[in-house]
């Protein structure tokens, strides 16, 4: 598991607002991407993009946008408007984006607060979010079809925003256990091209390594074409952790449900 000394392939990831939008262990997603790239001899460089920092859409292969607390999210929403054109250009150019929870909401068209005010988003995901009266908290199992294969994603949701998909987005999956996007239509997450958003903390990618690899492969294909070697890894521990969550949630339920 040693880090490679000279890498043939390098990817660069923009971590959006790492200081303000990193509340629920979402950093684990970056660790998963970086390690799983390194174990294949690929370097993943991670660069923080904070408040007031300009964003060059040609520089990045991947973007990660985590969840934050309400206060921080309002500050970020304001700054994000200045990064909107760059993010829209990056998405149109096929950059791979993963956004969780608050980041997911802000990649949509807007977030409407309980007071009726609308925080504008970036609009790279065709989704809209409205504040809900009830908070959805608990373990989640999602059935997910990507690249023609049906697989599960496990995670933990903690949100009161209710997200609804427009015609330009398809759901990332359907909830087997959990509330998902809005607690009503059985969907979870959204996909538009290579932009992915969802409510799954946990962290998401370590326990769902197939999804981490999907994101890395998409970024490699875009940067280098299809020929980049991408050998399988020994995922026995990842698979064991995934199965343990499936078993625990299917037997004891999703634990805390809408407690606040």
């Amino acid at each position: 598991m040693a880090e490679p000394t000279a890498a043939a392939y390098t990817l660069t990831l923009a971590h959006l607002y790492p200081e303000l939008m990193s509340t629920y262990g979402d950093r684990g997603n970056l660790l998963a991407l970086q390690r799983r790239a390194a174990w294949r001899g690929i370097v993943l460089r991670i660069e923080p993009i904070g408040l007031g920092v300009p964003l060059d859409p040609d520089r990045y292969d991947l973007y990660f946008f985590g969840g934050g607390q309400d206060r921080e999210q309002a500050v970020v929403a304001d700054d994000l408007q200045r990064k909107g054109p760059a993010l829209r250009a990056a998405a149109a150019g096929g950059a791979v984006m993963l956004a969780i929870c608050g980041g997911y909401q802000l990649l949509g068209h807007e977030f409407r607060t309980g007071e009726g005010a609308a925080l504008p988003g970036v609009g790279v995901l065709d989704v809209r979010t409205v504040a809900g009266a009830r908070r959805h908290i608990g373990n989640v199992i999602v059935r997910c079809e990507l690249d023609g294969a049906v697989r599960t994603l496990v995670g933990f949701e903690n949100h009161s925003g209710q997200t609804y998909l427009g015609p330009g987005a398809r759901p990332l999956g359907r909830v087997e256990v959990g509330a998902g996007n809005n607690g009503a239509d059985g969907t979870e997450g959204a996909v538009c091209g290579d932009v992915y958003g969802c409510y799954l903390h946990g962290s998401l990618l370590p326990k769902n390594p197939w999804f981490a690899d999907h994101l890395l492969r998409r970024a490699l294909v875009r940067r280098y074409g299809v020929a980049v070697p991408f050998p399988p890894l020994d995922d026995s521990l990842e698979e064991r952790a995934h199965q343990a969550v499936l078993a625990r949630v299917r037997t004891v339920g999703r634990a805390a449900v809408g407690v606040r």
């Binding site: 598991m1 790492p18 200081e19 303000l20 990193s22 509340t23 629920y24 262990g25 979402d26 950093r27 684990g28 660790l31 998963a32 390690r35 408040l51 607390q69 309400d70 206060r71 921080e72 500050v75 908290i137 608990g138 373990n139 933990f156 903690n158 903390h201 946990g202 962290s203 370590p206 326990k207 020994d234 521990l237 990842e238 064991r240 952790a241 343990a244 969550v245 625990r248 634990a255 805390a256 407690v259 606040r260």
Partner: protein, 462 residues
């Protein structure tokens, strides 16, 4: 005391005694449920009966150790205390302790009530207990599934402090902006404590910090120095909010050693050097909180320094017990900042280590284990000889360590805590230490397993 309350107290004590006799644990909580059911105003009436009043300690981290340090300081002054020592810090636990303290005529045996209080419970305890001092340690993200965001808790506290009687003292951590900002909510005296020594600080905020925005105006705070989490020397460039000057401070020299801390305590009137028998910067904060509270309760500074030097660790807070020819060191972990500081303290001694990390996801632990990914297990990764991962989330823990680059052949997954303890002890060389890091309910399981091995007394006797 009226007859109704007296009857309720007797019933509650009977319930506690019965629970203990049936081996259902310490009976620390059941009695309180019974009392509150029979006499809803019990907390207010039992608190009012205490001649020297009540002191409450709350915050995300350090409640148990701070209140135990303060208990030790007050006991040294001959103050008879009623104290929820075992850490039952919801209303029933507090009422139960008060009921246990009442004699058969309904009079309190102790002079002063000292209670650690759960953060979300503080607003409900503050009015009835009418404390003469409230100590607030810090606010870090903790069990987001249960408490929600830190600003939400800060706002609950701000509103609750309106019920604090004006002559009472509010003891606040100057280095935590969310806590220091609460001074404005109290009309009476405020005592601040904080760290002044620059050595343990750094210039950059770690990734798990919660308070990057000014609690007063919302602008990003500027930090001159960060100790850990969001604790440090800060000021707001946009409004006038800044770190208040502490009345009780740890000044240079400050030396953190693997099992103790050499501390220079600055109090009004001078400086006192002492050896605090607890490791870790977070325990410096606990000692400062206890010292500031003791000062507010008129304990003379030399007595404070003396008592801090003769303290013993609390239940599961870096406590060490012998098991045959090996030792077990127990340190409760429950949130990213607290856990990272425990790891930093362990890592100060670079020797290879055998670990047992037990992660449960029951309600009392927090059902969301995402926080494991915000903990800097990387600090310890190279020192791990073997890590036994246990609890209902054993596999999550093992995976976290794999991504901290601990080789999979150094990881053992054993969800059953008792079997994991046996495994960990077998992997520990004779004469060595097994470092056990459990979440709350896993800590109870570890204690029970150790108890069956005859290693420690039950914790409510502790």
């Amino acid at each position: 005391m009226d007859l109704r309350l007296q009857g309720a107290v007797l019933a509650g004590r009977a319930a506690s005694a019965l629970s203990r006799r049936l081996g259902r644990g310490g009976g620390t909580v059941i009695g309180g449920h019974v009392v509150t059911r029979l006499a809803p105003r019990a907390l207010a009436e039992l608190s009012r009966a205490l001649p020297r009043g009540v002191v409450l300690v709350s915050g995300t981290n350090g409640k148990t150790t701070t209140s135990r340090l303060l208990a030790h300081l007050l006991a040294g002054q001959g103050v008879a205390l009623v104290h929820n020592r075992a850490g039952a810090n919801l209303l029933p636990g507090i009422v139960s302790a008060l009921a246990q303290n009442t004699d058969w005529r309904g009079r309190p045996r102790a002079a002063l009530g000292l209670f650690e209080v759960d953060e979300a419970t503080l607003p409900h305890a503050l009015g009835p207990a009418a404390p003469r001092a409230v100590v607030l340690t810090n606010l870090f993200r903790d069990q987001l599934d249960r408490y929600g965001e830190v600003h939400f808790v800060a706002e609950l506290w701000r509103r609750a402090l309106a019920a604090l009687p004006a002559p009472s003292a509010l003891v606040l951590n100057a280095d935590d902006p969310l806590v220091a900002n609460l001074a404005a909510a109290h009309r009476g005296p405020v005592v601040y404590y904080g760290v002044e020594a620059p050595e343990p600080g750094g210039p950059v905020l770690p990734h798990a910090a919660d308070a990057r925005l000014c609690p007063s105006c919302g602008a990003p705070l500027a930090y001159r120095l960060v100790y850990y989490g969001h604790l440090g020397h800060y000021s707001c460039p946009a409004c006038r909010f800044q770190r208040p000057a502490p009345t009780v401070a740890a000044v240079a020299p400050l030396r953190l050693e693997p099992t103790r801390t050499l501390l220079t305590l600055q109090v009004p009137g001078g400086q006192l050097a002492l050896a605090l028998p607890l490791p870790g910067l977070y325990n410096v904060y606990n000692a400062l909180a206890a010292a500031a509270a003791a000062l507010a309760l008129d304990v003379p500074p030399p007595a404070i320094a003396r008592a801090l030097g003769s303290f013993r660790a609390a239940f599961g807070r870096l406590e060490r017990v012998a098991v045959g020819d090996r030792a077990v060191s127990l340190a409760l972990i429950k949130n990213p900042v607290g856990c990272t500081e425990v790891l930093r303290t362990l890592a100060a001694d670079a020797a290879p280590k055998t670990l047992l990390i037990a992660i449960n996801d029951l309600f009392a632990d927090g059902t969301d284990v995402s926080w494991l990914w915000d903990v800097d297990f990387e600090l310890l990764a190279e020192q791990i000889a073997t890590a036994v991962c246990s609890g209902t989330r054993a596999e999550d823990m093992a995976l976290r360590l794999k991504y901290a680059l601990v080789a999979p052949n150094r990881l053992v997954v054993e969800p059953d805590v008792e079997r994991a303890l046996a495994r960990g002890l077998a992997l520990t060389p004779p004469g060595g230490v097994l470092h056990v890091l459990p979440t709350y309910t896993a800590l109870l399981a570890v204690r029970a397993a150790l108890h069956r091995r005859g290693a420690v007394g039950a914790f409510w006797e502790n």
